[in-house]
């Protein structure tokens, strides 16, 4: 039985300096967690600055890709054949065999990319490129060489402990491994954008908690269930998410009753921010995340963003700020949240909107309007935070 091995390429971590091992260790930990979901046994090892995965039990290759493609920090997953050094001639034979087995269709263009990292190996990189190329052409006459844009790029890397042969690779999500940064609180609605915002920040190695504002009976339990589903989908990438469900009804009604209607959304957003920040501090988060994108809706104009941002006492990450809707939709489809996001349950943002919300709110006006809430609002906020319902969202399946 051929061992089923993978070479893991991690783009940016390689640029780190003395603390690089911290990132590598975090990555390996996340890989092990992800691979566990396949039900197989694997060894994940680091040798000479490279991470290898070796299947120790029968496992479907697709399952391995499926698992690893959700691990932030991985840029490429390369199925690799690791062979011991038995001299150059033995290597040549192995390369021919490898190519024969992995490329049944030989009407392709190719190029050999040899690398002699262990300098005691008798044949140099350039020499190997030429000689292995020739040997392949002799063995498989249908092949054509293309040094500029080959369809198959065959890597042969002579390393200190073994020789790696690989050609195809599967793209990983990129980014940094979870746990290599801190934790942030995502304002999660049922829409398309906020899950993607969470994904984007988490891809930088950030753990995510989330808060959802529920307004029964104005929003339905199905809307809440949808948000739980979204958090579960997201958790395939971000790891388990603690979803905080906040009952926002009384706050919303107070705003509705006391404040000018065209300012409802902005004021509501400000209270959401305030509550999210309280929860963030209680749960060890160092930042907030929202799915806002400039100009997408009235509450996301520059003026409105200025007003909502003003209440936050910690950084607010808005990874989608410069994205077009279509770009966000494309990513949502790719990571699998889109279908759930477009289920037609209203959330509180869509129910309590004025017909013509103010698009250029002035902070002074908004602050003045908020004074109309004084006397009741602090208690309501306190009550909402105290009633925090925490749902652990994770997906144990592959």
């Amino acid at each position: 039985m051929k061992t089923h091995s993978y070479l893991i390429k991690y783009g940016e971590i390689g640029l780190k300096g003395d603390n690089r091992f911290l990132f590598e260790d975090a990555l390996m930990k996340q890989m092990r967690i992800a691979l566990k979901k396949t039900g197989g046994k694997f060894s994940v090892t680091k040798t000479n600055g490279r991470i290898y995965v070796e299947a120790l039990s029968e496992t479907d290759e697709e399952d391995v890709y499926r698992a690893l493609r959700r691990v932030f920090g991985i840029s490429w997953i390369c199925p690799v054949r690791r062979v011991e050094d038995h001299g150059y001639e033995a290597l040549k034979e192995e390369v021919l065999r490898y190519f024969g087995e992995t490329h049944p269709d030989r009407h392709v263009t190719f190029k050999v990319e040899a690398k002699r990292i262990r300098k005691t190996f008798p044949v140099g990189s350039q020499e190997m490129n030429a000689d292995l190329g020739e040997a392949l052409l002799r063995a498989y006459p249908e092949l054509t060489v293309d040094v500029h844009d080959p369809e198959v790029l065959l890597h042969v890397e002579v390393r200190n402990d073994a020789i790696d042969i690989y050609s195809g690779m599967v793209k990983g999500p990129g980014g940094m491994p979870l746990g290599s940064a801190g934790k942030a609180m995502l304002l999660l609605s049922g829409g398309i954008d906020s899950p993607i915002a969470g994904y984007r920040v988490s891809r930088r190695g950030v753990y995510i908690d989330a808060v959802y504002f529920h307004a029964p009976p104005y929003t339905t339990d199905r809307a809440k269930e949808k948000v739980v589903d979204l958090a579960k989908l997201l958790s395939r990438y971000t790891g388990p998410i603690h979803l905080h469900v906040i009952n926002f009804t009384d706050i919303q009604l107070a705003i509705y009753e006391k404040c000018p209607h065209d300012e409802l959304t902005v004021i509501m957003r400000r209270y959401m921010m305030r509550i999210a920040e309280i929860l963030a501090r209680q749960n060890g988060c160092q930042a907030l995340i929202t799915g806002e994108s400039i100009g997408q809706v009235a509450s996301q104009t520059m003026h409105a963003l200025y007003c909502t941002d003003a209440v936050a006492g910690m950084p607010v990450f808005r990874p989608l700020i410069g994205d077009d809707k279509q770009e966000i939709v494309d990513l949502a489809k790719e990571i699998g949240t889109f279908e759930t996001s477009i289920l037609p349950y209203e959330d509180c943002c869509t129910i309590f909107v004025a017909k013509h919300p103010v698009t250029k709110p002035e902070i002074a006006d908004i602050e003045a309007s908020e004074t109309l809430l004084s006397g009741v609002i602090d208690a309501l906020v306190e009550q909402a935070v105290a009633g925090d319902e925490v749902i652990l969202c994770c997906d144990k399946k592959l």
Binding site: P216, P217, Y218, L253, Y256, P344, F352
Partner: protein, 389 residues
């Protein structure tokens, strides 16, 4: 009081609670008489007996021959089959069909499909109570009309269409035209005699009469010819292939028998409850009952608009008290296409948006009705303060 341990279920037009005797019989057919009715051995025979018994029970309720009953997967299949099966069988004679503007989507959508396939459909208008007129029908029937499909009881407002007059008229003047009746909301509430009403095809669903979901039947009168829609092993005389759902059919049969057992008494009780409910609701400011509210409408469906509140919000507020109703407005529903009677009877958008449908069953009590009304009385003022404008 925000939470109630008691459950008040007033959404019986959506589905009903399965009768416990029915559930027991279904379980028995699954775990004991689990044979394939087509098998030659005793197990198969036992299953076949269950089907036979079910058919006989249903036939008894319609006073028809058991051979007229064909089991289906439910009301939607029955309606689809009646329409497509009739169109396919009669298309050489003509391609004109007549139905109403307020049919359930399982009639409306097949009709629309046929329009795209070269058939012509006339949709009869309804008046403010949701009723079609015989005069409109008379004017609509043509030389090439092959099918008239009219619902017995409207699922949104409970209007009972004049199927008796329509049947008599068609029988007298146009005996060659097939008459299909969607009786999904009527079966179990009315004594229906297809032969006397001159109904050729009649659709019924099991789960509206305390039977299992996924069950139903189509009655096909002895002289009517329609084409099958599902082909396969030739079960049910080749009219509806597929291994028979014996547990479902048995459950449906028993549910049918039970619902007709004390039907007069039960219907009278439901009318009284509906009267009580509508009388109390009518006293609430800006609450308007939709459609007719006397014995010319169905005993179990009451539609009421509450101005100044969105029905979905009221629905969820009631749900918090353990009271389950249905919203009857297009904008609030996740499936806008399913709700259109309210528009067809000319309700304003505001009135449509505030419409709740209450639907009763034999299990509904006076206390259920009273508690529901008092909950609405308590909730409305608060909810009306926060109406989106």
């Amino acid at each position: 009081m925000t939470e109630s341990t008691r459950e008040i279920y007033l959404d019986n037009a959506a589905t009903t609670k399965v009768d416990e005797d029915v559930a027991r019989l279904v379980l028995r057919c699954m775990t004991e008489d689990y044979g394939n009715a087509a098998s030659l051995h005793k197990k198969g025979m036992d299953a076949e007996m269950r089907l036979k018994e079910a058919k006989a029970r249903i036939a008894e309720t319609l006073k028809c021959e058991p051979s007229c009953i064909f089991f289906t997967s439910g009301g939607t299949e029955s309606n689809n089959w009646a329409i497509f099966g009739a169109a396919e069988a009669k298309k050489r004679r003509g391609k004109h069909l007549i139905t109403t503007a307020v049919e359930h989507p399982s009639v409306k959508n097949p009709m629309q499909f046929l329009e795209g396939a070269g058939f012509e459909v006339t949709y009869l208008p309804v008046d403010k109570d949701g009723l079609v007129s015989l005069e409109d029908l008379k004017a609509a029937v043509r030389e090439d009309t092959i099918l008239v499909s009219v619902m017995y009881v409207n699922n949104e407002i409970g209007a009972a269409e004049p199927v008796e007059e329509i049947g008599a008229f068609l029988h007298r003047e146009h005996p060659e035209v097939l008459f299909h009746v969607d009786a999904i909301q009527a079966y179990g509430k009315y004594r229906i005699r297809p032969d006397q009403l001159h109904i050729d095809l009649l659709s019924v669903s099991g789960h509206k009469i305390h039977g299992p979901k996924g069950t139903g039947f189509l009655y096909v009168s002895p002289h009517s010819k329609i084409r099958p829609m599902i082909y396969g092993g030739g079960q049910q005389k080749g009219m509806r292939s597929g291994t028979e759902n014996v547990p479902g059919a048995a459950g449906l049969g028993l549910a049918a028998e039970k619902i007709y057992k004390n039907i007069d008494e039960n219907v009278a009780r439901m009318y009284a409850l509906k009267q009580r409910l509508s009388g109390d609701l009518a006293e609430i400011p800006d609450a308007i009952i939709n459609g007719k509210n006397d014995k010319s409408s169905a005993p179990h469906i009451l539609s009421c608009s509450f101005l100044g509140v969105r029905s979905e919000v009221l629905l969820h507020a009631l749900e918090q008290r353990g009271i389950y109703v249905s919203s009857g407005s297009a904008c609030a529903s996740n499936h806008p296409s399913e709700i259109h009677t309210l528009g067809a009877i000319g309700l304003s958008k505001e009135r449509q948006e505030g419409t709740i449908r209450f639907s009763l069953s034999n299990l509904t009590t006076e206390a259920d009705v009273d508690e529901t009304v008092s909950a609405i009385r308590e909730l409305l003022p608060g909810l009306r303060r926060f109406y989106r404008r």
